[in-house]
């Protein structure tokens, strides 16, 4: 067996790696591109665009040469932390590797150059891809129909809630409340408010999951739905989910299952079998499309048959001859959700990923994701115990006693991880766990990477006891040291302003 590699913090000094703002590199009169024809061409462009849309001047606009601009942005990109460069165990975000094959498929000219106004008869390949991807997602979730329109998880939530609202309305009743557990993602209550519901909080107490009896106590004929993430944000499978679904249905309410953490369930369990009426998924989490700054996202929503008439328009439907067309004639639909058909490039990537993995591959991915999270939980148990005694699925939520013992808080640990070349996990979430560190390694990391992470966490814990100033002052090796997050939030400066420099 190979020796376990110890993770060493970087020691290189940061001073040489800072990069000036591009405004500060500006030299008056310098140009990256010379327009052919000079002033004449600019005048012609002004005529074509309309002079009322053209600015006379742009004070402070940086004037740099092409190599200056290229080098500036390339150097900035080298200061990045990212999934393509570092281990990135950001809990509940599923920052799994984005396969290069996905990008290659999305760049195929037939997909990449497809104009959104192309008539359906000339876009059969793209429509077939949408229909097939919907079918795969329906199979994986155990649901009946899928819409790929929502541009992100939160828009998927809104779509699902609007459909639940429309379904209640259709039956001539108005319900105002949605129950949400205290472990929920922050987007859940926000989506409820946007959809016109008010939120009732269900407490998971310290065991980390919902009890059917607690949900039943909150049920009445004003409750439209329960919105729950499963596995939840503590990485725990909701063991009473089926009984909770039955209790909801008995009182005429719906089960909205937030599929943000579906990466634990592929080929293992289906939300449809748990009694879910609506599920939203995140292609940019579970299905390996880019996430964060690399997005955009895609938050498909899957429903049971009784909600299918309410799905957003247009729907991709198959004609008798096997070809595809767009159906706008859906009188019960909640309407159009966004322009065109959603973030199509992400659908191509997710479809490529699914075909490359196959059904067995996806099931294996979920199992390895669970294995990796459990490995981290077990290896760190002495210093960073898991918040709950329940079994861990795709992510573990750890806590620690350092704040009480030394005053070192979770944010200090997160900052110090940067010196080890590791992106910090999600911190202070869920709110139910004090000083939470929410770690989701995903299936794409090998054991050596996990061992290096464990080694870094162990060293930081020990440093916090022996040399707390090192942790408190971290990061020491990045272009910027500890930034003043409080000042940035209280007095944000969102624009460069020449008067300030």
């Amino acid at each position: 067996m190979a020796a376990v590699e110890k993770c060493e913090p970087r020691t290189e000094s940061s001073g040489s790696r800072t990069e000036p703002l591009i405004f500060e590199e500006s030299v008056p009169g310098r140009r990256g591109v010379d327009v052919a024809g000079g002033a004449q061409s600019i005048a012609r462009a002004r005529d074509l665009i309309g002079s009322e849309l053209c600015r006379a001047d742009l004070p402070g606009f940086p004037e740099v040469s092409e190599p200056q601009a290229l080098r500036h942005f390339l150097r900035l990109s080298q200061l990045n932390f990212g999934q393509a460069l570092q281990f990135y165990p950001l809990g509940s975000c599923t920052m799994k590797y984005n396969p290069v094959l996905n990008d290659e498929m999305a760049a195929l000219p037939g997909f990449a150059n497809l104009h959104p106004f192309t008539p359906p008869d000339l876009a059969q390949g793209a429509l077939a891809l949408i229909a097939r991807l919907e079918a795969i997602l329906a199979e994986l979730t155990g649901m009946d129909a899928v819409s790929l329109h929502p541009a992100a998880g939160a828009q998927g939530e809104l779509t699902g809630l609007l459909m639940i609202r429309a379904w209640h309305d259709r039956q001539g009743r108005r319900r105002h409340k949605v129950i949400i557990p205290d472990t929920a993602h922050g987007t859940n209550p926000a989506s409820c408010t946007l959809a016109g519901f008010s939120v009732v909080v269900a407490h998971s107490e310290r065991r980390g999951y919902l009890k059917e009896a607690d949900v039943r106590r909150l049920l009445n004929d004003d409750v439209a739905a329960l919105m729950v993430t499963n596995p939840n944000t503590e990485g725990i499978f909701e063991p009473e989910i089926s009984a909770i679904a039955a209790a909801l249905h008995q009182c005429g309410a719906q089960l909205y299952l937030d599929g943000a953490n579906l990466n634990a369930l592929l080929g293992v369990a289906k939300p449809g079998d748990m009694g879910a009426d609506v599920v939203q998924l995140n292609l940019h989490k579970t299905f390996s499309t880019p996430h964060g700054g690399g997005g955009p996202g895609a938050g498909p929503v899957a429903v049971r048959n009784h909600l299918a008439p309410f799905l957003p328009v247009p729907r991709v439907v198959q004609r008798a001859d096997g070809s595809f067309e767009l159906d706008h004639n859906r009188p019960d639909s909640i309407g159009r959700l966004r322009s065109f058909h959603g973030n199509f490039g992400m659908m191509v990537r997710a479809y490529a990923y699914m075909l490359a993995m196959g059904g067995d591959g996806l099931a294996l991915a979920s199992r390895v994701a669970i294995l990796n999270a459990n490995y981290v939980r077990r290896r760190l148990a002495n210093r960073f115990p898991n918040a709950s005694a329940e079994p861990t699925l795709h992510e573990c939520v750890l806590t620690h006693d350092l704040e009480k013992r030394t005053g070192i808080s979770t944010i200090d640990i997160a900052k110090r991880l940067l010196d080890f070349g590791i992106h910090p996990p999600t911190i202070y979430f869920p709110l139910t766990v004090p000083g939470a560190l929410m770690i989701e390694p995903t299936e794409t990391e090998d054991r050596a990477t996990l061992d290096r992470f464990v080694s870094a966490m162990e060293q930081i814990y020990d440093e916090a006891l022996s040399a707390p100033e090192i942790v408190k002052g971290a990061p020491h090796t990045l272009a910027l040291g500890r930034v003043d997050e409080v000042k940035a939030a209280r007095h944000p400066i969102l624009r460069w302003n020449p008067a300030r420099t």
């Binding site: 922050g186 202070y428 709110l431 997050e485 409080v486 939030a489 209280r490």
Partner: protein, 129 residues
């Protein structure tokens, strides 16, 4: 952790001082300590009606965004105008200059459900276990 006598407390960590049918409402020292440095506060407008146990404002720290729940029902008659510009006052002086709103109480019975100093102390020590 400071828990002054003479105030009423809610389970959601607000404090209430009453005088002549008017309740002054703020968040407790424990609440501001748990939130950490507060960077943004959203308050209702004067004239708004608030209902007991429903959120009436939002407090945001670098760690989290939390609703502020109404400990009593009533009509907002004054808000602390200094807080939008200087939310740190709530961290520095939660029971004094960091008050949030003044409310004309619509039902004095609401006060009966609130905790006194000893009961709130118990709640906090249970949470800190």
């Amino acid at each position: 952790m400071e828990i002054p006598p003479g105030l009423k407390y809610s389970k959601e960590h607000e404090w209430v001082a009453t005088e002549g049918g008017v309740a002054t409402i703020g968040i407790t020292d424990h609440a501001q300590d748990q939130l950490g440095e507060i960077v943004y506060i959203e308050l209702p407008s004067v004239g708004d009606k608030i209902s007991k146990d429903d959120p009436f404002g939002v407090v945001e720290s670098v760690k989290a965004v939390s609703d502020i729940y109404a400990p009593v029902s009533g009509t907002v008659i004054e808000i602390n105008e200094d807080l939008p510009e200087s939310p740190e006052i709530v961290n520095e002086d939660p029971y004094g200059d960091g008050w949030l709103v003044k409310v004309r109480i619509s039902d004095a019975d609401d006060l009966e459900d609130l905790l006194d100093k000893e009961e709130y102390e118990q709640l906090v020590s249970k949470e800190r276990e």
